[in-house]
């Protein structure tokens, strides 16, 4: 980092105090609105619902990702990695009908003052559901754009009053071999587990999704509640969550534990750090034709302006 001596800085480069403070207010407002958008756009700007499932009512338009073109609904809901329903990409869409998403309870425990449970209906009612269009980059070097519906994870976490001991947040998917037939085989260790550092979990971009394309999540996409961390590889965004725990220690997470040399705890999208078996420099956009070129992968999946500061000073080759 270049540190300038006072003598190097011209008077014209010094920000006026009023402008500086105004900018702070702006940044705060932007953060509160969920980064990037200060005002809610008109409802007409929402992505057209797919007409395939139950609509989520009263969705607020966050304006986030308005410049992105969502991947077609059939691909978003037909091309999934959700090993609980089989390891093929079309297995989840075919098999996930066995999952019952009502009633559904999420247990919140660990290093917090008021551990407890919360039901999915309560979650849908208590938190304003907003639409956010995010890029989703899979560790397998493909990506899509998904119009999610949900609310910031941080809003839920605060309700349970994490203590100062809470350094990490751990998540677990349901285990039920009847509802999730893929769990009859120990392809991975069940339950599927994921985790975030506390500041990552509280980041305004980190979303708990309840829907996509204006409707409740299809089962194959992780109904009724899943995590979405847009600057990390897709497998970090755990599906069908039943437990959230605050912890002092770094939690063990499924893919990291399965192959620690291939999948790190952080797993931030990074074109400069290859997976040991394939390059991460470029990615294929789902929905493009057979002869389409790959596209360069963006650092932090294009969300670097918002999240890079979380990792300042860290060696991202070591903490991949």
């Amino acid at each position: 980092m270049l540190i300038k001596k006072p003598s190097d800085i011209k008077a014209s480069q010094i920000t006026d105090r009023a402008a500086y403070e105004q900018r702070r207010t702006f940044l705060k407002a932007a953060a509160l609105a969920g980064v990037g958008a200060i005002t809610s756009g008109p409802a007409a700007a929402l992505v057209k619902p797919a007409g395939k499932g139950e609509a989520v009512s009263g969705i607020k338009d966050s304006g986030i990702g308005a410049d992105l073109t969502p991947t077609e609904y059939e691909h978003v809901t037909g091309y999934n990695n959700f090993y609980e329903f089989g390891t093929g990409k079309s297995d989840p869409a075919r098999n996930a009908h066995t999952l019952h998403t009502r009633p559904w309870t999420v247990v919140v425990d660990g290093e917090c003052e008021v551990p407890g449970e919360i039901g999915i209906e309560d979650l849908l009612k208590s938190y304003t559901q907003e639409e956010r269009i995010y890029r989703l980059r899979c560790v397998e070097a493909w990506s899509m754009v998904v119009p999610w519906v949900g609310f910031p994870l941080g809003d839920l976490l605060q309700r349970f009053k994490p203590t100062s001991q809470a350094k990490y947040v751990a998540f677990e998917t349901l285990v039920d071999t009847e509802q999730m037939p893929g769990q009859k085989r120990a392809v991975l260790e069940w339950p599927y587990r994921e985790g975030l550092r506390m500041d990552e979990a509280m980041h305004p971009l980190t979303l708990l999704a309840t829907g996509l394309y204006g409707e409740l999540l299809p089962n194959q996409n992780g109904a009724p509640l899943r995590l979405v961390v847009p600057w990390k590889y897709g497998f970090k965004s755990i599906k069908s969550i039943v437990r959230i725990s605050f912890s002092r220690q770094i939690p063990e997470t499924t893919w990291w534990k399965y192959a620690p040399k291939e999948y790190g705890f952080y797993s931030n999208v990074n074109p400069d750090v290859d997976h040991p078996r394939w390059s991460q420099a470029r990615e294929r956009y789902i929905g493009e034709g057979l002869f389409a070129s790959k596209h360069p992968t963006l650092m932090f999946n294009g969300y670097g302006d918002q999240v890079a500061s979380l990792y300042s000073g860290m060696d991202l080759r070591k903490f991949f």
């Binding site: 990409k89 493909w142 085989r185 078996r277 394939w278 390059s279 034709g289």
Partner: protein, 210 residues
Amino acid sequence: MTTNSESWLRFVAKPAVFVACLVPFGLLVKGALDGDLGANPLEHVTHATGDWTLRLLLVTLAMTPLRQLTGSTAWIRLRRMLGLFTFFYATLHFLIWIWLDQELVWGNMVADIAKRPYVTVGFAAWLLLVPLAATSTRGMMRRLGRRWKSLHRAVYAVGVLGVLHYLWLVKADLLEPLIYAGILALLLAVRWRPHLLRLPVRPGRTINVR
């Protein structure tokens, strides 16, 4: 062989196998023309050509044990065609990688072959198939004589490398590559231990590698 079974082989069995071997290719071409290869078309064509290479390789390797089991030499008459179709799908698989996956960036390809073991063994398997395809004609068989047999034993190595290629590229679910590995192991085992299938041991030809 009677004239009847000879003409059955020539005019029914061989053309039928030929057409059957082209069906997966036809489906891929149709899918490409219709733009109907799914969400990730490149992945689809890569996996399909890879799968058919391995399947046809195993079918090719099954011909000798089938002759021993049934006593019919008709199987051996299909072997060259099956072997050449194996090479056809392997070459498609390789060309798709060069052209659509690596987008003709030669430096990246060389680097990938050097540093990624599953690419290394896949490339080696294809390379080994080249001389086998090139010497598959009757003329080459005659010219090479006994050496032809030794050369074509390389197909066993191709099988092992091909299965390793698959095993080393999957993320977590090893079931499918292990099924291929199991079938390959069986097909190789019966060549060295014919009694595993209770195959009749022919006098003077206990090991039949043709």
